[in-house]
């Protein structure tokens, strides 16, 4: 450096140098499409409900953010929506003057993290200067610092590496059953510690490298006797196949300096096929077995394009305006990829850039409570409530039993148990509110009627 300016901090590290551009906060990225939770929906698909996506397949939400920013380099930082939220930046895509970030997160769909863009100051197409203060230019006359834009202040950097195993315990088993699902939930988190504590306002940049998948297969073929009224044997075959594809994610429990690596699903699927021949006709199964059999013998890889095309119609084409790709490779057997090298994570704080303090979303605060229990719906009335009941025992006590939810006279859910307080139905979450009335005691069933709310 023969001329110019440089400044060092209290720690002796460089924090301003007229040869090097500072990195500045360039704005908050905006949600570009509704969060998606894609599943396989092709031939022989088994329905995977929203509850199963989370409960059996460990699946999160995929979301896309954009920002119009005419720069060649951009670093996205995210801020979790709640304490301990699992997040992975999956893709960072530059499309001309627009930057796209595809991100995976857990929680409810509306609990998506905030994402903030940072860029080298030299890259910004226009920079507003103060009428006073300091502006620094490099030898190319590009501005590298202005007191009008605070430079990226990194609180800490951490090397993050995911374990090679997604799940250590058994998955369970499914057989000839088109409503069965095994358990793919990851259970092998690891922890790395930084020198700065996690708070509501911390921002994190990391693009985890690790990804993989878990799979389960089961099948059977043979003959079943046609019985006394039939003749001979009947050939039978069934296949069951399910999987969940995972991305490496990181969570940042508040109040501690730990960062937890884990995996979160971005795409899942299950399929089941059962075929049988006619009594007395052998050798028919080979002709009858179709897609499922082909999938299990490697046909899946060979036909990936057409097979996945239908499954991802809503994912890649409709819900996300720019393409995104779930982790499709690792679902034929349990595998992980790209776990060999650690990835650098940067930690900063939103308060340095004037980003408003984060406020967690409390689900209950979003609920509007409803209660109607006049005439029953079959008599033209309106029921909107959460009802639980218990059953009279021989000793006179009541045994807690189960519950139902009626909303606008439709029974939208049942089977939450006597003590259930919330349930997901499709993309709607129902909550049990305050107790409003009870039925008389002494009868066979004691009913409790609560307010119900939904979001």
């Amino acid at each position: 450096m023969s001329y110019g300016i440089k400044s060092f901090g209290l720690d002796g590290y460089l924090n301003l140098h007229s040869d090097y551009s500072s990195i500045v906060y360039a704005g908050e990225m905006t949600k570009n499409a509704e969060p998606a939770q894609p599943t396989y929906a092709g031939e022989h698909a088994i329905t995977i409900t929203p509850q199963m996506k989370r409960g059996n397949y460990g699946q999160g939400w995929t979301i896309q953010y954009t920002i119009d920013l005419d720069v060649d380099y951009m670093i996205p930082f995210y801020r979790p929506a709640f304490d301990g939220q699992k997040i992975a930046i999956m893709d960072i895509i530059n499309e001309g003057a627009t930057w796209v970030v595809n991100l995976l997160y857990d929680g409810y769909s509306f609990q998506y993290p905030a994402v903030y863009a940072f860029a080298p100051l030299t890259e910004l197409p226009s920079v507003q200067l103060n009428d006073y203060g300091i502006a620094v230019y490099d030898a190319n006359s590009d501005i590298v610092f202005t007191d009008n834009m605070r430079p990226l202040k990194v609180d800490d950097t951490v090397l993050v590496q995911h374990d090679t195993t997604i799940r250590t315990t058994g998955k369970g088993s499914c057989g000839n059953d088109d409503s069965c699902h095994v358990d793919f939930n990851p259970d092998n988190p690891t922890t790395v510690t930084s020198n700065t504590a996690n708070t509501k306002n911390k921002l994190y940049h990391i693009v985890p490298s690790a990804y993989g998948g878990l799979a389960f297969k089961n099948s059977w073929s043979g003959t079943l006797h046609c019985g006394v009224l039939g003749w001979g044997d009947r050939p039978v075959q069934w296949d069951y196949y399910s999987w969940s594809s995972f991305r490496g994610v990181v969570s940042h429990p508040r109040g501690a300096s730990d960062h937890v690596t884990d995996y979160l699903g971005d795409f899942s699927g299950a399929l089941h096929q059962y075929v049988q021949g006619d009594c007395g006709v052998s050798g028919l199964v080979g002709a009858l077995i179709g897609i499922a059999g082909a999938l299990l013998t490697g046909g899946l890889s060979l036909t990936m394009g057409s097979f996945i095309g239908g499954a991802l119609g809503g994912f890649a084409l409709a819900e996300l305006t720019r393409p995104s790709q779930p982790s499709l490779k690792a679902y034929e057997e349990d595998e992980t990829f790209d776990t060999a090298n650690p990835v650098t994570m940067l930690i900063t704080d939103g308060s340095y850039y004037g980003i408003p303090e984060h406020v967690d979303i409390d689900l209950i605060d979003l609920v509007t409570w409803e209660y109607e229990k006049t005439l029953n719906p079959w008599a033209g009335g309106n029921w909107t409530h959460w009802a639980t009941y218990s059953i009279l025992q021989n000793d006179g006590s009541y045994l807690p039993a189960d519950s139902f939810i009626f909303y606008d006279s439709e029974m939208v859910a049942a089977g939450m148990g006597f003590n259930g307080t919330s349930v997901e139905v499709g993309s709607t979450i129902y909550f049990r509110g305050d107790l409003v009335s009870t039925s008389p005691t002494g009868t066979q069933y004691q009913w409790y009627y609560y307010k119900v709310g939904k979001i």
């Binding site: 060092f8 590290y13 924090n15 301003l16 990195i23 893709d91 530059n94 605070r150 202040k153």
Partner: protein, 88 residues
């Protein structure tokens, strides 16, 4: 504040990383630390410039560091990436 940089009443007394160099990642990119005598600490950020192709078992680039150099490696099965070498 005894020394350093204060902006609008805010003291940047720790860790304001600057961009030391940047570019499109090739198979191997090596940076010699001695060319940047004012910089004490280096970090490398890779920016994937497209969707990740997990079906082809794509892997991310990585970097290693010695007292004299930083070596950024783009494996053959890695997609296109930019790199930013940050320093302070």
């Amino acid at each position: 504040m005894t020394h350093g940089l204060s902006v609008d009443g805010f003291d940047f007394d720790y860790g304001t990383y600057s961009v030391i160099t940047k570019g499109q990642l090739t198979a191997t990119t090596t940076l010699t630390k001695g060319h940047y005598p004012d910089v004490t600490e280096f970090k490398v950020v890779f920016i994937a410039t497209g969707m990740r192709n997990t079906y082809d078992e794509e892997v991310r680039p990585y970097y290693s560091e010695t007292s004299a150099t930083i070596t950024m490696t783009k494996p053959t099965d890695a997609g296109e990436h930019q790199y930013l070498v940050l320093g302070r």
